[in-house]
């Protein structure tokens, strides 16, 4: 029997962080968006210990300010795309600059510098990822998915899907279904 899950990464990360901090007896406050206000000075060794523990969860203590911002951009975009309720009608550039308090131009340049890809590209990647998840869930038709993700038509979605992954959404659907059958056979 297969159980399906939906993940809220931010919630998970926060919970993990809190646990690790508590285990290490580090006082903190305001566990926010990728940030913790630590209420005591941390020695480098302590930070290394902390880092080691966090390594098991693939959580990295980021030094670089730029990286931090870039990570924020990524998280904001992820949130924006994977939003269950609102179809964001605001342009992504406006949304981002408002959410992060910087001009879009600055954000864009920074992002490209650090990740070597553009924000637009990243947005597309996220959208397609979300589309993949929706396709797998089988709740919505392609038209509904296209609408939900702000595409003007199914064809538009298909085109971008194919451009990004090299295969059509229907082929993707088919492959996932056949994979499922194969797994059931093997188990």
């Amino acid at each position: 029997m297969t159980l399906f899950f939906k993940f809220d990464f931010n919630a998970i990360c926060q919970t993990v962080l809190e646990q690790v901090l508590n285990n290490n007896n580090i006082k903190y406050k305001n566990v926010g968006f990728g940030e913790i206000e630590v209420l005591e000075k941390i020695t480098p060794e302590k930070q290394q210990d902390l880092q080691n523990e966090l390594d098991t969860f693939n959580i990295e203590i980021v030094e670089n300010q730029k990286s931090i911002l870039v990570q924020k951009i990524k998280d904001t975009i992820t949130d924006m795309v994977f939003n269950e309720d609102t179809v964001v009608n605001v342009k992504s550039s406006v949304y981002l600059s408002e959410a992060l308090g910087h001009s879009y131009g600055y954000l864009s340049n920074l992002f490209s510098e650090v990740t070597y890809t553009s924000i637009e590209n990243f947005i597309i990647i996220q959208k397609i990822e979300y589309a993949k998840q929706l396709v797998i869930k089988q709740d919505l038709s392609l038209t509904e998915i296209a609408f939900k993700l702000n595409y003007s038509s199914v064809a538009h979605l298909s085109t971008q899907f194919k451009n990004t992954t090299g295969i059509t959404p229907t082929a993707f659907q088919r492959i996932i279904a056949k994979r499922r059958d194969l797994n059931q056979q093997n188990n």
Binding site: A155, S158, T159, T168
Partner: protein, 594 residues
């Protein structure tokens, strides 16, 4: 026919019974008449005998009287003789009469009266002649006695007359009765005999007609039997019947021939038949024969027989039981010699296998050749590209040009191999037909051509397609090829517009479908506004490697449309092309609907 015949038989039986009845009645009536006649003649005889006796008595009395008179006259005792003998004679007669009248009490009593009177008379005689010695004829006693005697005589006569009359009356009455009977009887007899004759005639008529009919039927049967025999010979059948109740078989002439024997050359029994059955099939056949007895219908059974000369023949038998006139179950069977069919079937199977093997080899060859040719070609192209990239500066102009031409040639070869590979992949073998969403396949095809579609501003309009049972990848390939062609052969004056329509049509209504396999077809039409082609080449363009342009004008391998045709044929449909030079081309696809 049998019905009417049996009705006729009932009719004849009825006739027979009626006739018998009539004859019996006639006989009875005749018997009665004869006895009546005998009876009445006896009666007459009887009456006359009685009369005679009575007359005799009278005569005796008269004689006695005459004698007495004579004696009185002559006093000669000779004359007394009749008187003396009269008594005896009269007694005798009375005795006779007694016998004669023993059944007639009326007469009996009368005769007793007469007898009494006669006795009185005789006494009177005695008295009279006793009183005669005085010889006084004038003696008043004598005269009164004489007169008494006369009176008695008269009474006797009267009585006798009375008796006679009575008898005659009786006789008359009886003969009157008989007469009426006797009158009626001959008439009745005659009319009955007439009826009988008529019935006999009718019966005869009926029998005659039936015999005639039977004769005709018989003749027809003979002809039919003969033609059946002949048809059995021609179609290599034999037939048999099995009366299950009496376990009696009949085999038709040709059944014997199927066993390699002369007709009716041995007694038709199961055992004799089994002698000819192939030893390996005997057990199964015996089992099925057993089943035959229980079941109404014998399903097809197959077995072999071996002729005396060693030939093995394959037979196929079928039997069905029917109930005949006498409510008995008879199994009718037909056995056919299917040896020829089996032989040709086996030959066909072998040929098929051979063909399949051949096809398989060709297919593999095609596939492997195309596939394995790609590798070295790719290497050539890749190394060429590396050469271009890294040694560009060191090459002369000519060198660069040559490398260019090599690249072109290689590219062309690449295209050819790709198309050949595609062609070999469009075999039907082990391809699965699935219920598919044709609209999605069309979308996917458009996706494949997305680049060129946007580059050339191609406008594609299409009807909504219903789902169809197809090989999805092949139909997608078909769409890609047709759309690709429409775009490739676009007109320079305008951007390509392609319209795809769909209809469901009745096979009979469209002249293009020459040998419809299903009543309804999908009709899919691709129309473009490209350069078109001369309709003269409508068939040729589907031929493998056939092109209407050389490779410098338009790229292409001449395989694309052949692939389309092959795919359509895999789906048991047709494809037709129509072209108008300078205006556009139309491709019509027919796919049968299951």
């Amino acid at each position: 026919m049998i019905k009417t015949l049996s009705n006729n038989i009932s009719f004849l039986r009825a006739m027979l019974y009626i006739s018998a009845l009539v004859i019996l009645v006639v006989g009875a009536l005749t018997y009665r008449s004869v006895t009546e006649v005998t009876k009445s003649s006896e009666m007459i005889t009887h009456t006359y005998k009685v009369n005679v006796e009575l007359e005799q008595i009278l005569s005796y009395l008269k004689d006695a009287e005459t004698g007495q008179r004579g004696y009185i006259i002559t006093n000669d005792s000779v004359f007394l003789e009749p008187y003396l003998s009269a008594r005896n004679r009269i007694n005798n007669s009375f005795a006779e009469l007694k016998v004669l009248t023993k059944n007639t009490p009326q007469l009996k009593s009368k005769l007793i009266d007469v007898n009494t009177l006669i006795n009185k008379r005789l006494i009177a005689f005695k008295t009279s002649y006793r009183s005669l010695p005085k010889k006084d004829i004038e003696d008043p006693n004598f005269i009164s006695n004489f007169r008494n005697g006369k009176t008695l005589m008269d009474s006797i006569r009267d009585q006798i007359k009375g008796v006679i009359k009575l008898q005659n009356n009786l006789l008359n009455k009886r003969s009157d009765e008989y007469r009426s009977d006797l009158m009626a009887t001959p008439l009745l007899l005659f009319s009955l005999l007439l009826c009988s004759l008529i019935l006999m005639y009718l019966a005869y008529n009926s029998i005659y007609k039936n015999i005639k009919r039977l004769k005709i039927t018989n003749e027809e049967l003979e002809i039919f039997k003969e033609s059946t025999n002949q048809s059995e010979i021609v179609s290599k059948h034999g037939s048999w019947t099995w009366d299950q109740n009496n376990d009696v078989f009949t085999f038709s002439d040709n059944l014997y021939r199927l066993l390699g024997e002369q007709p009716q050359s041995f007694e038709p029994t199961i055992q004799n038949f089994m002698q000819y059955v192939h030893p390996e099939d005997v057990e199964q056949l015996s089992q099925q024969v057993e089943n035959m007895k229980k079941n109404v219908e014998l399903p097809y059974i197959y077995y072999r027989v071996v002729h005396k000369n060693g030939n093995i023949k394959h037979l196929k038998a079928y039997g069905k039981s029917i109930i005949n006139d006498e409510e008995e179950t008879v199994l009718l069977g037909t056995t056919a010699d299917i040896t020829d069919e089996i032989i040709s079937f086996r030959a066909l199977e072998e040929r098929n296998l051979e063909l399949e093997r051949n096809n398989q080899e060709l297919s593999s060859f095609n596939y492997v050749a195309s596939h394995d040719l790609q590798e070295p070609l790719r290497k050539i192209q890749t190394f060429l590209s590396r050469l271009e990239d890294e040694e560009a500066e060191k090459l002369s102009d000519r060198g660069t040009r040559y490398i260019d031409r090599i690249q072109n040639a290689a590219t062309r070869m690449r295209l050819l191999i790709d198309d050949l590979l595609q062609f070999s992949r469009s075999n039907k073998a082990d391809k699965v037909f699935e219920e598919s969403n044709i609209n999605l396949l069309l979308e996917a095809a458009k996706q494949d051509l997305a680049e060129v579609i946007s580059a050339e501003d191609v406008v594609i309009t299409s009807d909504a397609f219903p789902s169809m049972t197809v090989i999805p990848f092949q139909i997608q390939q078909l769409f890609v090829n047709l759309l690709g062609n429409a775009i490739k052969y676009k007109s320079e004056k305008r951007s390509p517009v392609i319209n795809i329509t769909h209809q469901v049509i009745e096979a009979d209504n469209d002249a293009q479908i020459t040998k419809p396999t299903k009543p309804f077809y999908h009709k899919i039409t691709f129309t473009d506004n490209g350069i078109g082609f001369d309709n003269e080449y409508a068939d040729q363009i589907f031929v493998l490697f056939s092109r209407l342009h050389n490779k410098d004008e338009y790229s292409g391998t001449g395989i694309g449309l052949s692939i389309c045709k092959k795919i359509i044929e895999n789906h048991k449909g047709h494809i037709i092309a129509k072209g108008k030079p300078g205006i556009g081309a139309t491709f019509i696809i027919y796919l049968p609907i299951d």
